[in-house]
């Protein structure tokens, strides 16, 4: 910065501006009136509007360790391993989750961990008992029909990976804080998900394409939230799990 620019910056500290009006209460009142008058119509269920709280908290939390970086080696979190590849193998994009379809109550009884769920009725539930401890995938419908998102959970083991994600050049991984739990946000081009057994052999019915995904470990459970979501929406879903 030149001396003149420094002088202008210093001058700026002495410029007389009108006193800033306190507008917070009027703004909040306007927002409250607007929310009371209109219904939110989005592709995702109405409860996803809690994404706003998560976004605001993220903005206020200046020390939030969210970074972008180039990742050259393998990452892992819980029971999921991330591998970066130059190109993806051809897979079926429309394949259902692995396992047997059943009710959520039946699924809870079969797996070895406490299942987290959203406070709404799921559209589909699958359990794959080939994965140690069981792997449960719960899908939820959007307000316009079709599955809006799916949430997969399994024990967060560190001695073996149950899922491997193959990430191509168009997919990015970012570290995120999920309500105090460490996580990864995977977005961009679809990536490939493969499920493995305890001996490292992959299930041939498992490889499929996956969209944006939030991965984190909470209380010993690896959680995958996948769907046509942005980060704020995925974080909102994560915080709504109970």
């Amino acid at each position: 910065m030149t001396d003149l620019e420094t002088a202008l910056t210093e001058l700026g500290h002495h410029i007389l501006f009108p006193e800033t009006p306190h507008v917070a209460e009027r703004i909040l009142s306007t927002i409250a009136d607007s929310n009371a008058d209109s219904a939110t119509r989005t592709v995702l269920p109405r409860w996803v509007t809690v994404a706003v709280a998560a976004v605001i908290a993220a903005i206020l939390l200046v020390s939030m360790p969210v970074t972008r970086r180039a990742i050259a080696d393998m990452l892992g979190i819980g029971a999921v391993e991330l591998s970066f590849v130059d190109s993806l193998p051809p897979v079926d994009a429309l394949r259902d989750p692995t396992g047997t379809e059943m009710t959520l109550d039946d699924a809870r009884a079969l797996v070895t961990f406490r299942v987290l769920s959203l406070p709404i009725e799921p559209s589909k539930v699958y359990v794959d008992l080939r994965v140690p401890g069981g792997m449960i995938t719960v899908s939820y419908s959007g307000s316009r029909g079709g599955d809006a998102l799916s949430i997969t959970q399994m024990e967060a083991t560190t001695d073996r990976g149950a899922i491997e994600k193959l990430l191509g050049p168009g997919t990015t991984v970012t570290e995120v804080d999920v309500g105090g739990d460490f996580g990864y946000w995977i977005e961009g081009e679809p990536h490939v998900v493969i499920v493995f057994d305890k001996n490292g052999a992959f299930y041939e019915d498992s490889p499929r394409l996956a969209g944006n995904t939030l991965l984190f470990v909470h209380d010993g459970v690896t959680v995958r939230i996948e769907g046509s979501l942005n980060l704020a929406q995925a974080l909102s879903v994560a915080l709504a799990l109970g």
Binding site: T2, D3, L4, E5, T6, A7, L8, T9, E10, L11, G12, H14, I15, L16, F17, P18, T20, P21, H22, V23, A24, E25, R26, I27, L28, T30, I31, A32, S34, T42, T49, V50, A51, V52, A53, A54, V55, I56, A57, A58, I59, L60, L61, M64, V66, R68, T174, D177, V178, G179, G180, N230, L231, A232, Q233, L235, L239
Partner: protein, 177 residues
């Protein structure tokens, strides 16, 4: 740690954190305190509506100020109204006069501050606004471009011209830097 639950208190904190720079930005654009107040209110309301789509990994201030500046431009009654900067007497700056390192700094730290203010106020409107945003509000070049609604390259060129005019006005040569 992310917050769970409602956003009212959190958004109030957000407004209180950014209302000062938002109001001053709107004031520079509109030239009117009342228009600036309206622009800030509507800007924050629109920002709240857009939060669901906002990527929290990106810096919030430039995004917010762009929204506020758009509201401010909508309210600018006429192109003829123009803000005239005033500086309070820099009494503290006089005490610091002993640390003057150059004639430009002395112009601020001493009574010549009024000369610099007058020189800024004599700038063409487009440069007058850019100097205010960039140096008085200390917005980055990218933020200045977003707020002014012009490309970053245009900000650089307007700043360059403005600084040249100011140096000429202060009686300095162009090659001093």
């Amino acid at each position: 740690m992310l917050a769970r639950g409602g956003d009212t208190d959190a958004y109030r904190m957000l407004v209180q954190r950014y209302q000062d720079v938002a109001f001053r930005t709107a004031y520079l654009v509109t030239g009117s305190a009342s228009d600036a107040e309206d622009a800030v209110q509507d800007g924050f309301v629109k920002a709240h509506t857009g939060l669901e789509r906002f990527d929290p990994r990106l810096p919030f201030r430039p995004w917010l100020l762009t929204i506020v500046a758009n509201e401010a431009r909508n309210r600018r009654r006429s192109e003829g109204r123009r803000l005239s900067y005033e500086a309070q007497a820099a009494r503290q700056a006089v005490r610091e006069a002993a640390t003057v390192a150059s004639p430009e700094v002395a112009a601020v730290l001493g009574e010549e501050a009024r000369t610099l203010v007058a020189a800024v106020n004599a700038l063409p409107s487009d440069e007058h606004l850019i100097v205010g945003l960039r140096y008085f509000l200390e917005l980055s070049e990218a933020e200045t471009a977003s707020v002014a609604g012009i490309p970053a390259g245009t900000v650089k060129s307007r700043l360059s011209r403005a600084l040249r005019r100011l140096r000429e006005s202060l009686g300095e040569s162009d090659d001093r830097s």
